[in-house]
Amino acid sequence: MSSELLSNLGLFVLAVLVGFEVISKIPATLHTPMMSGANAIHGVVVVGAVIVAGLADDPFAYFLTFVAAAFAAMNVVGGYVVTDRMLGMFKARPARPAPAAADASSSAGSATTEGGAR
């Protein structure tokens, strides 16, 4: 075993332990965004695609590099964007753009009984 491999192994084990420590403190309310955020983090494999592209020199490697780069980019871009979109929905108070308007629509709803329900 080379010393590089050994130090990488050490890094791996410590990162797993840090992961356990950090993740176990996240509340269940945020488990879906956290999972999708972690999903975006494994999109770091795009770095791996760049590195293999740096050494590719035959058609087979070019083709696989293209697929790997496309997969990884989809993972990383989509992961962060959708996580942000989701987290934007979590609000401490209900979104009521104009309280007066909300009142008006709810009283209108009760007048017709039907309108407000949908």
Partner: protein, 478 residues
């Protein structure tokens, strides 16, 4: 190491710190968005640094130098462009109810990319005859885990989307075939480490893809939260293994973090379902997607039926209401109606809380996202341990589409759900259950809650039932 390599390694370190702090900030909804941005910033830095290293012809981890050909750049950049566009489009367009599918697709492409990185590097090095065991062991692990994740996640996404039946799919000899695929993958991998060859790698890839498909097919729709979490952990591991293959530390650290997060969620979900991960993966039990075994159940005569007007009166004159949304609410897509009812009651000055069981929804925490989308403030969303003491002091508990997780039988030994963590709904002064029929839940048990004297049953689909109640409350208080 030249200055450039040192700079890149330091940027990797900064990126790793950003990932950890980003996840750390996800401990509260108030800071979570910032955390995601921090993580994205670290990611951007790592990618830019790597591109600079490769473009400048820096040193590889083996001591050679990078030299990108015109084709190399063309394929890399066009791949990145296509993938970024696809990711951006799907992330913007996806419905919140379809989040589990999207996460599954991202698991698939992440795992697939990790496997491809390993394959490309193996082919290059074996061409040079320079494959050692220290290299080929991570390659086979990367390729096996990545390929299993790729095919397994696609099947999981197909099941969630309804393209593949959500019911467990088994056929004669499927288990034997699955074991055979595992044996070929592992045997081929061992052989490959002893005597490196491209054909063995092809065999390992095919067997692993087959294993991934056969692993997920027999698992039922209701077990999907566990499966997605597990595949998320697999993807992280595959990425970490790809990091070992190409000697890249940021891949190792990020992959390990994700592997840990997926593992924790898998364990939490399995515990909340009162089943072992092994039992779920062996599968063939959890169908639950519709749970419509009508007819069976608590002796029909023992339950008290209520109508929407009764429910509306109870709700409108309560001081504290706890809403218990479950899988049925997600399946009927009734989160908007649920949020509207909660908001209406809150406006009347009633304390409204939502009791969220860990497995309500189709992936960990899914119900919270659905309700957040329906404008329910997250301060009203309480986890099981927080909300359970509240039931004793609440006037009405409104159960919408949740079954097994409210069954008091779990507190007694000797049945299918014994020991399962449940919501203490039976301690509420009055309980309303909106349910289509007295059918069994996923565990196939009678729910003793339905027979209790304080419980009223409103027989309706979650969406229809909630609309009726909403309309009735509005008439009442208007």
């Amino acid at each position: 190491m030249s200055g450039l390599e040192v700079a890149v390694r330091l940027i990797y370190l900064v990126a790793a710190v950003c990932f950890v702090l980003g996840l750390h900030l996800m401990r509260s909804p108030a800071t979570a968005r910032r955390g995601n941005w921090l993580s994205a910033a670290g990611m951007t830095a790592a990618i830019v640094a790597t591109v600079a290293l490769v473009a400048a012809g820096g040193q590889t981890s083996e001591g050679g130098t990078y030299s990108v050909t015109g084709w190399g750049w063309g394929m890399l950049l066009s791949g990145l462009a296509v993938g970024s566009f696809a990711g951006l489009y799907t992330a913007r367009a996806v419905q919140m109810t379809a989040m589990p599918q999207l996460v599954s697709i991202f698991n698939a492409v992440g795992g697939g990319a990790a496997a491809l990185v390993g394959i490309i590097d193996f082919v290059r090095l074996s061409g040079e005859g320079a494959v050692t065991a220290g290299f080929s062991v991570p390659v086979v692990l990367d390729v096996i885990i990545g390929s299993v994740t790729f095919s397994g996640s696609l099947i999981a996404a197909g099941k969630l989307q309804g393209w593949v039946s959500g019911a467990p799919i088994t056929f004669k000899g499927s288990r034997a075939l699955n074991i055979a695929a595992a044996v070929v993958a592992l045997g081929g991998a061992a052989w490959l480490v002893a005597a490196p060859s491209g054909w063995l790698l092809v065999a390992v890839v095919i067997a692993s893809l087959g294993f991934g498909i056969l692993m997920v097919l027999p698992i039922g729709g209701a077990d999907m939260p566990v499966v997605i979490s597990l595949l998320n952990a697999f993807t992280g591991l595959a990425v970490a293994m790809a990091g070992f293959v190409i000697g890249n530390q940021i891949l190792i650290i990020a992959g390990a973090l994700v592997g840990a997060s997926g593992t924790i969620l898998t364990k939490l979900m399995a515990d909340a379902m009162n089943r072992s991960v092994i039992a779920i993966m062996i599968g063939g039990f959890g169908t639950g997607d519709t749970a419509s075994d009508a007819g069976a159940g608590v002796a029909g005569a023992d339950v008290r039926k209520v109508d929407a007007d009764d429910v509306a009166i109870q709700l409108a004159y309560a001081t504290k209401v706890i809403i218990v949304p479950g899988y049925g609410l997600a399946a009927a897509q009734a989160q908007r109606e649920c949020g509207e009812l909660g908001a209406l009651l809150t406006e009347r000055g009633i304390t409204v809380l939502y009791a969220i069981h860990p497995v309500a929804g189709r992936m960990p925490g899914h119900m919270n996202v659905l309700l957040a989308e329906a404008d329910v403030p997250y301060t009203q969303l309480l986890e099981m341990d927080e909300v359970n003491p509240e039931f004793a002091t609440c006037d009405v508990a409104l159960v919408v589409g949740a079954n097994d997780v409210t069954n008091p039988a779990a507190r007694r030994p000797g049945n299918a759900i014994s020991g399962m963590p449940i919501l203490d709904v039976d301690q509420a002064r009055s309980v309303i259950v909106i349910k289509r029929s007295l059918g069994h839940g996923y565990a196939g048990l009678d729910n003793e809650l339905y027979g209790q004297p304080q419980t009223g049953m409103l027989f309706a689909d979650a969406k229809k039932g909630l609309r009726e109640i909403l309309a009735a409350v509005k008439t009442l208080v208007g």
